[in-house]
Symmetry: C2
Subunit: 306 residues, 2 copies
């Protein structure tokens, strides 16, 4: 049996002393100019090469600083087969640099189809081998089972969408049934799964995606899901601050990881880091990562990590 994802994540967080996750969401328009120029001539293949160079460049900078990266598969899938081949190289590079890889794919389906997806990301021959995967809960408990089984068997983790960071997320997630919103029903199921295999850290293989843009719900879910890791998107470009995510942690600074994608990888476009200039975009990435680490250390229980 492989070491559990939960133990590996806790160890990585303690080693790096931060819960910051860098989201790899390459967008062609936002790549540094030097990486965009050659790509223009070569359509998808050129763009994919740009994504690979760019993401590997980000990884080189952030690998000593953070426990994990979260590639968003949609941006690679957008470029078709060459894009997904680039993602294969990006994931391999992250792994080689000692980073945990959370593939943000929000997959799900029923029965044996879910098994196929689980093998695509947790299988021994996977082209996009994930330490953890995001999945969607709409299809119900039996659709999650194959993912849970594959994750546990391979020392992987899952993050189930519970309360998403987008403005329209509440349309369904906040509908009240039996006196509580839908997202709490999902949370209860996730917590049950997490408790089943919680290890020495107190957390299990199955966690929840909870947006930083809803701080009150984040606090409520932290308390309702004591065995569940929370993957928190929405920091930075989506408007949430370090104070907003503070309630996601337990008292020791564990229990949550906070993702930032655009705010870090495209830091060269942000006013605060524009002095680096377009050629020193990696220095901008480094500075933005360190600033986020410092902000979380100052404003959240993550400051207690040691």
């Amino acid at each position: 049996m492989a070491t559990s994802f939960s133990d590996r994540l806790a160890a990585a967080i303690r080693t790096k002393r931060t819960p910051v996750v860098v989201g790899l969401d390459p967008r062609f328009e936002s790549l540094p100019e030097a990486l965009r120029k050659p790509a223009k001539k070569m359509a998808w293949a050129g763009r994919a090469a740009g994504y690979k160079t760019f993401c590997q460049g980000v990884i080189d900078v952030v690998a000593p600083l953070v426990p994990a990266v979260k590639p968003q598969i949609a941006f690679f899938e957008q470029l078709g087969i060459v894009g997904l081949a680039a993602l294969n190289h990006v994931i391999a590079h992250a792994r080689q640099r000692g980073l945990l890889v959370i593939v943000d794919a929000k997959r799900n389906d029923i029965g044996s189809t879910a098994e196929a997806y689980a093998e695509a990301f947790f299988g021994a021959n996977s082209d996009w081998r994930a330490d953890a995967l995001t999945v969607s809960p709409y299809l119900g408990d039996d659709s999650l089972t194959p993912f849970v089984d594959a994750a546990r068997h391979n020392g992987g983790g899952l993050f189930v969408l519970v309360k998403t960071s987008n403005p329209g997320g509440g349309q369904l997630q906040d509908l009240v049934s039996d006196g509580k919103p839908l997202y709490q029903h999902v949370a209860r199921h996730v917590e049950r799964l997490a408790a089943e295999d919680a290890g020495p850290t107190g957390y299990g293989s199955v966690g929840a995606v909870v947006g930083a843009t809803y701080p009150a719900q984040l606090a409520e879910l932290r308390s309702a899901m004591p065995h569940s890791w929370l993957l928190i998107p929405g920091y930075g470009s989506q408007g949430a601050t370090a104070k907003d995510v503070a309630a996601g942690f337990d008292a020791s600074g564990l229990g949550a990881i906070v993702n930032n994608s655009r705010g870090i990888i495209f830091a060269h476009q942000r006013k605060e880091y524009s002095h680096f200039g377009p050629d020193r975009w990696q220095s901008a990435v480094e500075a933005a990562t360190k600033d986020m680490i410092a902000a979380l250390a100052a404003e959240t229980p993550a400051g207690k990590l040691a």
Copy 2:
């Protein structure tokens, strides 16, 4: 502006005089022996070659008989990059044979990430160009918007998960809020989108996935969603019969398409068609397709198609 998916689907159904959709869900263990043998030696690449040959062989048989095929991307994704390259060839083959292609991917994400997925399947340079795509609703209305926009712009269609065919689907979908189950809330949103661009057939670009395994809910949703195409899985191997799907159609026999995957593509394994023997698996596919067409014509309003 491209001809709308709704009009193209209605025309294809009328031409073939059936609403049968053949699901392309290749599973290595179930391939005819002749296609499995070479693959064993070559791992993923060999399996992917087997999937391509097999699916193209299915397409050759069913193209004169049915309006559409529905490849399940999970089974191709399971094989990694070579699998998704095989899917590219399968889709191209289906298109060349005049079939509409519904890519069953159940994708979704927020904002610009959803845009990336939409371009992956509806974009001009897509490797997996879909006439229609299945999507998941958990992230709410703003997550669907980029898919709706891309579908409409490219003459494509969407099928949003409403009431899925699996036993556990009800865990969330049947939770009652404001006096009605969650799936009805989703249905109401889908119907609103469908009504916005309903064409001469009365149906719009956005439809719903409603499982044949819940006939009462199928009837209720047909009535609640007069402008929405229903994509009905669950026929055959999942237990639903022609009588079970009858309520999914309007009086003229339009408004629904009924998918069958394993029951058709792996017909060579079914007792009724075992007399064809393993080498004549395509004859088994043909016979199973014709039998399903006949069953729907006999037992549902699809019999009125002319």
